[in-house]
Subunit: 236 residues, 2 copies
């Protein structure tokens, strides 16, 4: 827990082709953290579209971002294009070096990997990419939220809400997180037990697995290439 | 369930001062409905800010919206300013008259009320406004998702995710909704049992109740005035 009179600068990376709820879920939680400022940063001031077309606008560019206390990295298919983008990777490295907490959601963890931040860490990401964490020297953990030192990793998509609440505990303690949870009326009632590969009906999981095959193959190629360049041990 | 070869036009109202996850939660679900187009409509093409500052842009103006199959109305403090805005209320009335489903989240239900759509309906909204539904002739129900004829009402904030999944079942059946739930990795693990007034620690609930007092009083005044104008019976 960080002293409550310490003002916290919280910042998210926003990018074209992110999965919007990787950002908007944590925003809903972390924008309610007392004594903090939450800003969103992107390569440009132009609107970006999420993978399904939602248009959002950042508050400022990456270059304009102050040193952040909390760095939040969403995921989504657009992460792929950023993994070898020196402007973005350098920004993540610089921010992560000074941040009190680094928080990735979904394939945002692969951005941490490309920035060389995962070596030896327990981490998680979307189930379709979990095996890719090993390319970056991480220990993949099949849990919804994984915490390691000052890192918080949330698995796929809506796991960002749970990860952000866990992060809120780290920042401001249990009572603040409970108040935020009430404010968000977060007492979920999913209509099915279908939210993970292990629980979904097998035919539905198989269909999802197929639909991820192409992007997973692309992500694997990228991971392999970057890992080789970073000189990280690659299992196999 | 609607025949799967029927293309569905899904549309959300977006407005200044909404609670962004009332929109982005359902967007995450409903933008994945097969054979559908999801667009967001607002009074203007300019960016709007949600209550905590997130900036989003609509796809088109209200006037440009085609007749929608699914009308989605988010809530948040900004709903208050729209309840007596003839452009918005007329738009809701016209769209609701032709829509297959009308779906409100949080205080989006009060917009339905101001449009005269709640008479005799079982409905729900954010807990702080639940008693206001009676002003509009509705039967308030303290449940997370309430369905009545072709209406789906989700209670506060994140309840929109659960409501949207229930709506996805109505639109395309169980298997599609299960696939969407898996795609969103929606297997929530809230860190506390603090998401409703009944479950939150009493001191935390009391604090939240106090923080809502002012806006609830304002909403009550508006509800009373509109109900009188609409000639709806007002229980005490």
């Amino acid at each position: 827990m960080i002293p409550e009179d310490t003002h916290l600068l919280i910042g998210s990376l926003m990018f074209e082709g992110m999965d919007q709820i990787d950002l908007t879920g944590p925003f809903e939680v972390l924008s309610r953290v007392p004594n903090s400022t939450y800003r969103i940063y992107a390569k440009t001031n132009s609107p970006v579209r999420d993978l399904n077309g939602l248009r959002l606008i950042a508050d400022a560019t990456l270059a304009e971002a102050p040193p952040l206390d909390v760095l939040h990295l969403p995921g989504g298919p657009g992460q792929e294009a950023l993994m070898e983008d020196p402007e973005v990777i350098t920004w993540i490295q610089r921010q992560a070096a000074g941040a009190r907490r680094i928080f990735s959601v979904c394939t945002g963890a692969l951005l941490c990997g490309a920035a060389g931040l995962l070596k030896g860490r327990r981490a998680t990401t979307h189930w379709s990419s979990l095996h890719l964490l090993a390319f970056f020297g991480a220990i993949p953990v099949n849990e919804r939220v994984v915490m390691d030192a000052n890192y918080v990793f949330a698995a796929g998509v809506t796991a960002g809400i749970d990860g952000a609440l866990r992060l809120a505990v780290e920042l401001r303690g249990d009572e603040v997180a409970q108040a935020i949870q009430l404010d968000m009326v977060y007492a979920p009632e999913p209509p099915f037990n279908s939210g993970t590969p292990e629980r979904a009906p097998p035919a539905i999981f198989e269909c999802a697995r197929q639909s991820y095959r192409e992007i997973t193959a692309r992500r694997e190629e990228t991971a392999r290439r970057i890992a080789a360049r970073l000189g990280i041990f690659v299992a196999q």
